[in-house]
């Protein structure tokens, strides 16, 4: 089984979000970049398939050379090879088109991406890859078992979960549940050393238009001070009469 894990290079979850160039670009000053958390759950599940079922695991992203340390981290966690599509990721649809070209060329049986990236929250790349490559698709996937070509997946639905039967080739929009938080791996020194000599292929981008263009960014207005009360009667009164929330 050949697996491709799509890796988005995103600001750490604790990052302060600022914009530059007249609020048209994300300000990367002082920002630590990481593997998108939803992708990391998928990568860790892919490592399980590698170790238990002999799968080959490749990782790919779309971005400039500055994203390579994130791919190297994925290699240090245990992926076999990395692919960077050398273009600026402008919107979800164009990223999906680039990755679909990688998937078609590489003949992957299983593609795992995150349910969404924590930067632009588009949540569209895995579904679009599936549609563009003619694969089956399971979104918000919290459990994935593969036996030959047969797949049993559990997906999160509003208020519960749903068990699905499907087949390879498959694209998964993954999240926590594919593995637990405690299963995530911190690369060890050996992994980091090995990652330096693993293949990281730079691919030129295919011709793909963007369907959307960012005009500007803005931050939410600063919040007013909290109203502190010292008894529940006052709280109920405020929630009812002032906030009209109960």
């Amino acid at each position: 089984m050949k697996i491709l894990v799509c890796i988005s290079h995103v600001p750490d979850t604790t990052s302060k979000i600022n914009f530059t160039d007249g609020d048209t670009k994300f300000d990367t000053t002082g920002v630590q970049f990481v593997i998108n958390p939803n992708d990391e759950f998928g990568l860790t599940r892919a490592m399980w398939f590698k170790e238990k079922q002999g799968a080959t695991v490749h990782v790919a992203n779309v971005g400039g050379p500055e994203t390579e340390p994130t791919l190297r981290k994925a290699l240090a966690i245990g992926a076999d090879e990395a692919i960077r599509v050398n273009t600026i990721a402008s919107d979800g649809f164009s990223v999906a088109k680039q990755l679909a070209a990688v998937v078609k060329e590489g003949g992957y049986d299983l593609v795992i991406g995150g349910r969404e990236s924590i930067d632009y929250n588009g949540g569209m790349v895995p579904g679009m890859i599936a549609k563009l490559t003619g694969a089956n698709f399971v979104n918000t996937c919290i459990n994935l078992e593969i036996d030959g070509n047969n797949v049993t997946a559990i997906r999160e639905i509003d208020g519960g979960k749903e068990t699905l039967s499907t087949a390879l080739p498959l694209v998964v929009g993954g999240q926590k549940g594919l593995v637990e938080e405690s299963d995530l791996r911190i690369p060890n020194m050996r992994g980091i050393m090995q990652a330096r000599s693993k293949p990281l292929t730079v691919k030129e981008a295919v011709d793909a238009s963007s369907e959307t263009q960012t005009v500007t960014f803005e931050k939410p207005a600063p919040k007013g001070a909290v109203k502190l009360v010292d008894n529940v009667d006052d709280l109920i009164n405020l929630l009812h009469n002032e906030a009209k929330a109960i």
Partner: protein, 320 residues
């Protein structure tokens, strides 16, 4: 034409679906056109007219009895073509987020989710949506002929707009060759979901252990609220993963979010930021949550919550 997919459950339209119809009517008015809703096994569709739909396509097809993303996406794409829709509106529900990217590819349409307001202009088509898990907003132009909109919950609200509505049967051609089938659904039908809830009651490590959630569940029941929890609580297995809210968990866009014994890590606050009113109850006055909340009580949950529950029962009895 503006097309809106109206999800229903048990023959009743979801509130987010009615919100989406209200929003569709707002866009249709800007564009000088009308709203067509699409309903699958939706029961009485006349309700959609109250929010501005002038036509509804009533779909029934065996391939749609269980949720199958491919079949639903194909059905919606065919409906959009039939109606010559320039804008297709979906919500942020789990199923809508599943099918939206498939519809976007089918229609070669730009898709923007988490939209919080009407477009600032429809030519060019410019929308505002939340990014960085509610830590920022982006104003984005969709430049394709057909636009797919993912409307954020509780952002636009319900707007009544009584319109004369006609129903039409719609039979999409679904090949039914998807190999994906539903084996089983595990869903508590007697509980409010976080996705649909107006009020969410959430608790964290301050509760000290899973055995202490009785009072949280009681509070949720009194308020008709959904229960949620912080990340450490779900990581420790005190509560199911489905209750974890925050950046890597579920987003919460409720009218009222009550955080009990949750300090307010930046990732948690990001996930609940689009809720309208936030209340924090915490022993530590320095907890970051107090900076993000509208109302707060510095106090011990084990004292405050039982009192709150008793007083709320009285309040509910008096105020219905």
């Amino acid at each position: 034409m503006v097309l809106v997919y109206t999800e229903s459950e048990g023959g009743k339209f979801k509130k987010v679906a009615l919100e989406a119809v209200s929003y569709a009517k707002g866009i249709a008015d800007m564009m000088g056109t009308a709203v067509t809703a699409v309903s699958v096994n939706g029961g009485d569709t006349s309700e959609l007219g109250a929010y501005g739909a002038s036509k509804v396509l009533e779909v029934s097809n065996d391939a749609l009895n269980n949720f199958n993303a491919e079949a639903y996406a194909d059905m919606l794409s065919q409906a959009a073509k039939k109606e010559d829709a320039k804008v297709v509106i979906l919500t942020g529900s789990a199923n809508c987020k599943f099918i939206a990217p498939l519809v976007a590819v089918n229609l070669s349409a730009g898709y923007v989710p988490n939209i919080i307001d009407l477009p600032s202009s429809t030519s060019p088509f410019v929308v505002k949506h939340s990014v960085f898990t509610n830590k920022a907003f982006s104003t984005t132009e969709i430049s394709t002929d057909v636009k797919i909109i993912g409307l954020a919950k509780n952002a636009y609200g319900l707007k009544e707009n009584q319109t004369s509505i006609t129903a039409e049967r719609f039979s999409p051609e679904l090949t039914g060759n998807s190999v994906t089938t539903v084996v089983s659904v595990d869903k508590a039908t007697d509980k409010v979901t976080i996705a649909d809830a107006e009020i969410v009651v959430s608790a964290g490590r301050g509760l000290k252990g899973p055995e202490n959630w009785g009072m949280i569940e009681e509070l949720a029941e009194i308020l008709g609220a959904a229960t949620a929890c912080s990340k450490p609580v779900s990581d420790m297995g005190w509560r199911p993963h489905g209750e974890h809210v925050g950046q890597t968990g579920k987003p919460v866009s409720a009218n009222l979010y009550i955080a009990i014994g949750i300090s307010g890590a930046i990732q948690h606050l990001a996930g609940i930021n689009s809720s309208k009113i936030k209340v924090v109850i915490n022993t530590d006055p320095e907890a970051p949550f107090f900076k993000a909340a509208d109302y707060g009580i510095v106090g011990d949950a084990f004292e405050v919550i039982p009192q709150l529950n008793e007083k709320l029962k009285v309040f509910k009895a008096q105020n219905g």
